[in-house]
């Protein structure tokens, strides 16, 4: 993915959120890059409409900017706090939709699936763009192992090595507290 900024390593979510509370733009952008896919994915899952999900995602990050100074690390992980903020923005969008009579509220979402997707999509943001592309191709493109190696111009052994490396980088992130 050329042109994409490098994965935001270094600062923890809690540190970034505290800096957002102090109105630091860089911290907000870092947090956004880490969480935009999990938030959009959660919104899409609950709302079932891309346009609504897009607006709910924007509202969620606006709420993060507004409310970050209220976050206290001792109360829990930043990821869980963001999950709650995102859930509130999505619920508000659902309420508006219900009021407008423009659709039926969906069945209660499967929270376990949502939680797993949230954690995994958040963890993927920790990978460098090339690693993330490799994992996305390996798991969700439908390419066979041989086709994947051919597409990437690598030997099958090199693909195995890189997949191992990417999975190892995801492991500690996924071991952290879930929302």
């Amino acid at each position: 993915m050329p042109g994409e900024p490098p994965a935001p390593h270094g600062a923890s979510d809690e540190e970034l959120l505290a800096r957002v509370g102090a109105r630091e733009r860089d911290a907000f952008e870092g947090l956004y890059r880490r969480y935009v896919r999990p938030v959009f994915g959660l919104a899409l899952h609950r709302l079932g409409d891309r346009r609504d999900a897009e607006e709910a995602t924007e509202e969620a990050f606006a709420a993060v900017w507004r409310s970050a100074s209220a976050y206290r690390a001792e109360s829990g992980a930043a990821g869980a706090w963001l999950y709650t903020v995102a859930g509130s923005a999505i619920a508000e969008r659902l309420r508006r939709r219900g009021t407008a009579g423009a659709g039926v509220l969906p069945e209660p979402a499967d929270r376990t699936d949502e939680s797993v997707a949230w954690r995994v999509h958040r963890a993927l943001a920790e990978l460098a763009p090339r690693e993330r592309e490799l994992i996305e191709l390996a798991y969700w493109s439908g390419l066979s192992q041989t086709d994947l190696a051919g597409y990437l111009g690598l030997s099958p052994g090199a693909v195995e090595t890189r997949v191992c490396s990417a999975l190892a980088r995801l492991a500690p992130v996924l071991a952290e507290e879930s929302p």
């Binding site: 509202e59 798991y139 969700w140 090595t161 492991a171």
Partner: protein, 202 residues
């Protein structure tokens, strides 16, 4: 039907023992999560920080805007409706009136849609609008009948030359309105891209 990725094939002999089990757990979580969603272009780029600040200010002032805007819209819609009704000698009173409010794409916008009695198989409607932003050339607003929960058919299009100007357009609802119907106004660009909702039934 293609099978999903197989852990042993993906990692080969690249890890053993506890490390292999740790990677297998990650593999299982990846399979359970499914692919991350493709981001729409508006979300894919770094957020427009100025927009976030504007949204923050807007939220703080939203209630005041809503009160003033709603009062203004009601007054304008009433005046427009009254004038039109007088002009037509009151011959077409609305069978049903729907209030529309601006979405986040056009928070200042307000509108009233009056569904008029059917005439010779047609179902005319009057839309009184205020607060919609002017459009670039070749862009237009489209009024959709929403059923069930999704835009079903266009009732007509219009453009705006001045956001401060209240005006009324005549439309035609292509299907007989039903109880659960709603309406949405979208902004459509000349490129033919899907429109953005600017007004929804309140």
């Amino acid at each position: 039907m293609s099978r999903g990725p197989v852990f042993d094939e993906l990692v080969g002999d690249g890890a053993t023992g506890a490390e292999r089990e740790r990677l297998r757990r990650v593999h299982e979580l990846l399979l359970a999560a499914g692919p991350p969603p493709e981001l729409p272009p508006q979300l894919a780029s770094t957020p427009d920080f100025a927009a976030v600040r504007r949204r923050q200010r807007r939220t703080l002032k939203r209630r005041a805007f809503l009160l003033v805007g709603a009062a203004l819209a009601v007054a304008i819609a009433f005046a427009a409706g009254f004038a039109i009704a007088n002009h037509r000698g009151g011959e077409t009173p609305a069978a049903r009136t729907v209030t529309l409010r601006g979405t986040s794409a056009a928070p200042q916008a307000r509108a009233t849609l009056e569904l008029l009695p059917a005439r010779r198989g047609n179902r005319p409607a009057r839309l009184s609008v205020v607060g919609l932003p002017p459009l670039p050339p070749q862009a237009f607003y489209n009024v959709y009948l929403v059923r069930p929960g999704k835009p079903m058919a266009s009732c007509g299009t219009f453009t705006v030359s001045s956001s401060s100007q209240a005006f009324t357009v005549t439309l035609n609802v292509p299907y007989a309105p039903a109880g659960g119907d709603s309406w949405v106004v979208t902004r459509t660009t000349g490129s033919g891209q899907a429109g953005t909702a600017v007004l929804r039934a309140a």
